[in-house]
């Protein structure tokens, strides 16, 4: 059944039964991973269905624009397919996947010469982010959302790649410090230090923006 795991995840989210059903979803995910590892094409497609939104959103937060996020997501799933044979069953698949996402995003940033390319409000409009909008209220609300997203993307741009990865995983993806340390392959102390520095920089950026807005 394609999309079985995704359906379970969506159902549990909507019913607020995340904690109760997370074990079921994890077990189901584990069986899908095992089948994909054995070379079953349908199982691999299920894995894509299940994780593509997560991979895309994390890549977008890491890279700052939609186009790069798509490229990175494709590369992530190609790497998953390539290295799935080496994935041990006792490992956490989500953590393993996050690690690949972070590595792919780092490679992307390195290829671009260490610069993030964040989508501005104007570029989001050009990309057709508001094409699907119908009413005037929708347009206004989505314009505000897009502007806020662009500001947050700019705030994330003030961080180094490591700080950014740690902050995205801890504060935006909701992983624990221990999980972030495992994904990034560093100690918890290092992760705490990176997160602390990143939060301070974000606050500084927000303060600057707020002062500028008040000054107008």
């Amino acid at each position: 059944m394609p999309g079985e795991v995704a359906d379970i995840a969506l159902m549990t989210d909507s019913l607020g039964l995340r904690d109760i059903s997370s074990k079921t979803a994890a077990l189901s995910s584990a069986s899908v991973v095992e089948r994909a590892k054995a070379g079953e094409a349908a199982a691999f497609e299920e894995l894509i269905d299940c994780y593509q939104r997560k991979v895309l959103s994390t890549s977008w937060r890491m890279l700052g624009n939609r186009e790069d996020a798509y490229d990175a997501a494709q590369e992530v799933f190609l790497r998953v397919h390539k290295y799935l044979g080496g994935f041990r069953s006792d490992q956490d698949f989500a953590a393993w996947l996050y690690r690949i996402v972070v590595n792919v995003c780092r490679d992307h940033i390195r290829k671009r010469g260490g610069h993030h390319q964040f989508a501005s409000f104007e570029s989001e409009r050009e990309d057709g982010a508001f094409d699907a909008l119908r009413s005037g209220e929708d347009v206004e609300a989505n314009a505000i959302k897009a502007q806020q997203r662009a500001m947050i993307a700019e705030a994330l741009d003030t961080l180094s790649t490591r700080e950014r990865a740690a902050l995205v995983l801890r504060d935006l993806e909701g992983l624990s410090t221990e999980e972030v340390a495992r994904v990034l392959g560093s100690s918890q102390t290092t992760v705490r230090s990176q997160i602390s520095s990143a939060r301070a920089k974000i606050k500084q950026y927000r303060d600057r923006v707020m002062n500028r807005t008040r000054g107008r």
Binding site: I48, Q52, Q74, T177, R199, I202
Partner: protein, 245 residues
């Protein structure tokens, strides 16, 4: 806990990333310190502002395109797998390691065999082919000919190629043949050995030059290798027959 320390720990405190003991001490500081309390509120607002960032919406068409792109790229790569990839697919890591070790051993044995074969083909001892000395009488006022004058064309051509090596060894006047030389050299009636190269089993080399210097006889032998020349000094007393004349 002072305000400076609280300021440092605040980014971790707002999201519960501090150990419980430190967090409690910080919380008790916040109860009476208004400035730090205000800082904590600012950090909380900043965090909620960051979290307010909604993910960009990815519609179904985009997700479908992503999936299709991944699957087509996988199909492309799996259509022509590399040798290593196909080996890795069917064999375990240990088997691949064992195969590489076996290939390494075979390669080593081959290299050793080729080296041994090449060593066997080379002659182990370089022997000298002694040319007959020039026994013609030396006429006064005429420059004596070189010892190796009149040898085969091959020797001449080799000499020209060795001109640089011989630059320091100028031909010297041929000394009268010593007893030892006479003993070593064949008589004109004896058959001379064939020029080198005609028979592979024959020794390679030639007497290059000889002279009598301060009672020592010097004989130079040029081996088949142009870089190797054997120089031999004979003692003076072998010239005794000359003094008796």
């Amino acid at each position: 806990m002072n305000c400076r320390r609280v300021e440092k720990l605040m980014p971790l405190y707002v999201q519960g990333d501090l150990a419980s003991g430190i967090a409690e001490r910080l919380a008790s500081h916040l109860e009476w310190c208004g400035r730090c309390n205000w800082l904590a509120d600012e950090y909380k607002e900043s965090q909620s502002w960051l979290r307010s960032s909604q993910e960009p919406e990815f519609d179904e068409a985009d997700l479908h395109a992503l999936k299709a792109g991944v699957l087509s790229r996988i199909a492309d790569t799996s259509a022509k797998p590399s040798l290593l990839a196909s080996l890795a697919q069917h064999w375990g890591r240990r088997q691949v390691l064992a195969l590489s070790a076996a290939m390494l051993i075979i390669f080593g044995v081959l290299v050793f065999y080729i080296y041994q074969a090449s060593m066997r083909a080379k002659p182990s001892v370089i022997e000298a082919k002694i040319e007959p000395p020039d026994t013609r009488p030396v006429q006064p006022g005429v420059t004596p000919p070189e010892v190796d004058q009149g040898t085969s064309k091959e020797t001449k051509s080799r000499k020209s190629s060795q001109a640089s090596n011989r630059a320091s060894i100028k031909p010297r006047p041929a000394a009268p043949m010593s007893a030892q030389q006479a003993a070593l050299s064949p008589t004109p009636q004896q058959s001379l050995p064939e020029p080198p190269g005609t028979n592979a089993a024959e020794p390679v080399g030639e007497i290059f030059d000889s002279y009598n210097s301060e009672g020592m006889l010097r004989i130079e032998l040029q081996t088949g290798d142009p870089n190797i020349r054997i120089i031999w000094f004979a003692p003076k007393e072998v010239e005794a027959p000359k003094t008796t004349q």
